[in-house]
Symmetry: none
Subunit: 212 residues, 4 copies
DNA sequence: CATGAATGAGGGTTCATTCAT
DNA sequence: TATGAATGAACCCTCATTCAT
């Protein structure tokens, strides 16, 4: 966590620092990330940086938290309107909202992608201790409710299925960008529906083979 | 590719170098990886290193290739015995073989994990140009055959489903190691079966809800 | 340009660095020039060096600029006393001043020679974008004035002639040091006069064959 | 000088080596020049190289000699046809021949330019001990003959004037390429004529101000 | 709370030359 | 005569962090 000194700063300066950090962490893999560039962009001194943060990782984790919170807030707001939806429709809206977030806050997503794809296990685990569960929890709650409402197969392992859904939300984006050069992220819904089709006919209770 | 000079070396020396590289690339994310440590461990001079390889990435890609080839060879041998199996049983044997490989060649797997999880997009794309497709192709062929034999739902997008399976083969291992401290990789089959259950009831044609 | 950090240093330290750089750049062709030697001589750390300068070329260009400015300042001061002189006498004084500069600041001249004789075209062009024109401009102005005053042949191409004079100011020194082992740079005036004789009877208007 | 072993090679192999060396020495400043690239291009082994030449400089000097000899031979042949010409016309033909050589053997000229512009004094002096005098001698002989025939001012210092002409032959080319982007080397004659005009009216005996 | 100079280990890479075969 | 593996010093440059002011 940042030191108290950081939070004592006026929010304009805080924002300058966070913005610079987001740009840097989004633009390079963590290990290539440079504090020098961050302080230069944020226009603060090196000494100040170390008065606000314990070290590079401290800032990194804080930024990830901010981004993660922003996404959860964004998704939460969207989903309030869909509480009455059936599980799979809600799931679909969730993916749509995720893609909207991506379009609205591309730099936030760059960081998210890097975190989820990072090969730095030690760092990743430290981060996952918080951030990944947030997503898993999200799906777990939805799944639990759907099971209780008799909408989906009670035989499934909820925790594991939540994990699968989280992995997919990342994988699909990866797949899309690995196989498409375009920026048209709407097309990605095509793959989301394919995935949902598979998931639905797999985990939905009874009445299989009915697509939607 | 390594230079010819590398292949001219006696195999004992080649092995010393590759072993040192595997250890290094398995122990650190690529960017933290050190040629100095590799040559020290392999007991060769810096000048020699650059007579064998063009640069660090050259060695890295070569090692990945070796590992990838070893895995494909290992899986290929295993699967020859199972050609007559039904699709989902074959799929299950495939995962079992993958886990066996992991147990038999733990250091190879460390590298494999790093590659698949790398956040260095440029490098990743360079490597994937070969390695990821290998896995995708594998699943694609199986899926195509199964569709032709009327074993699975012909509505699915084969390429995309192959991608999903590849992602799962990585994700499940990740999930296992994130949620378990033990080295007992056999327990992982529990998750494999859960995943297969979901996949099967999703993509298998007709007669849904029959587990096995 | 050096970074601001360099100019923030006390001048004693700045001088130590510049002196070390002058010695190094004067003693070796640019490509053989070593930052390691410079920082060792200047007694600063490698890290510090790169806090002051962007890279080796940055320092090099700065040193060249300093030397060039010093020479222009030196010549400018000398020439203020000779403004009323006739063109060829002024030209002669200019050469004398150049030689004096050489005697007074031998290490500056070593660098100057290297720059003018460098075979590194890319670097040279970058430097010449400023430094060579300084000399050419100098001669151009003198020539233009002399033409306007009717002292020299208006048929000549002023730019080209200025270039010739610049080249000579270098060549003559080269010639002298190639054919003499002595340090007695006064003797060089002998060649200057021979050159001026040729130039004069070539470009002076009318009344040729009158030496002085 | 190359070792005897080099001259024992069949001329095809000798040529391969010399051609590779010419390409390399023409493409980079001497210090950036790489034996590795030369042997690779010439398709000989490293060991062989050091059996043919004592070291890099040995090869370099030999190549320069070859190039220099080729130029002298080329000029010599041209000039046999012009022996009856008046001094300044001969001089002009000499420059034309020089430019022709440049056009016909561009790679030879690249090396020549690098040598004449080299900032590596030690190496340069070693080379000049032979090559530059060749050019100076050439002009000296012409000048001496012209003086004896009463064509030019006997007051001039022949050695020094020969040096000036040599410098000019280099400078003019430099000037041309610094001020022109085109490859049209014919245009260079414009500058040659300007230079000759200056030289002529300077060193020609009597009857000044008669251009041609 | 702010500053920014200082650090030095470490990074990857190049190179001409030697020498045993 | 031919080979090419081996060498290791030197190259330029980056970095996160410390600390005196």
């Amino acid at each position: 966590m940042p030191k108290q000194t950081f939070f004592n700063l006026n929010s304009s300066k805080q924002n300058r620092i966070i913005d610079a950090a987001i740009a840097e962490f989004g633009a390079h893999p963590y290990l290539k990330t440079s504090i020098n560039r961050i302080i230069k962009k944020a226009d603060i001194s090196k000494g100040s940086f170390y008065q606000y943060f314990n070290n590079k990782k401290d800032l990194y984790k804080y930024v990830i938290d901010q981004v993660s919170d922003a996404k959860m807030k964004f998704l939460g707001e969207k989903l309030q309107n869909y509480q009455q939806l059936e599980f799979f429709e809600l799931l679909r809206e969730l993916f749509i909202a995720g893609i909207q977030f991506r379009k609205n806050f591309p730099r936030y997503s760059e960081i998210g992608d890097r975190v989820l794809n990072s090969s730095n296990k030690d760092l990743k685990n430290e981060l996952y201790a918080e951030s990944k569960p947030k997503s898993n929890d999200f799906f777990e709650k939805l799944l639990l409710k759907a099971v209780q409402e008799g909408k989906i197969d009670p035989e499934i392992d909820i925790k594991f299925t939540a994990f699968m859904l989280t992995e997919f939300s990342v994988s699909i984006v990866n797949y899309f960008f690995e196989t498409h050069d375009t920026d048209n992220v709407d097309e990605i819904m095509n793959y989301v529906d394919k995935m949902l089709y598979i998931m639905k006919n797999g985990i939905a209770k009874g009445d299989k083979n009915v697509t939607n």
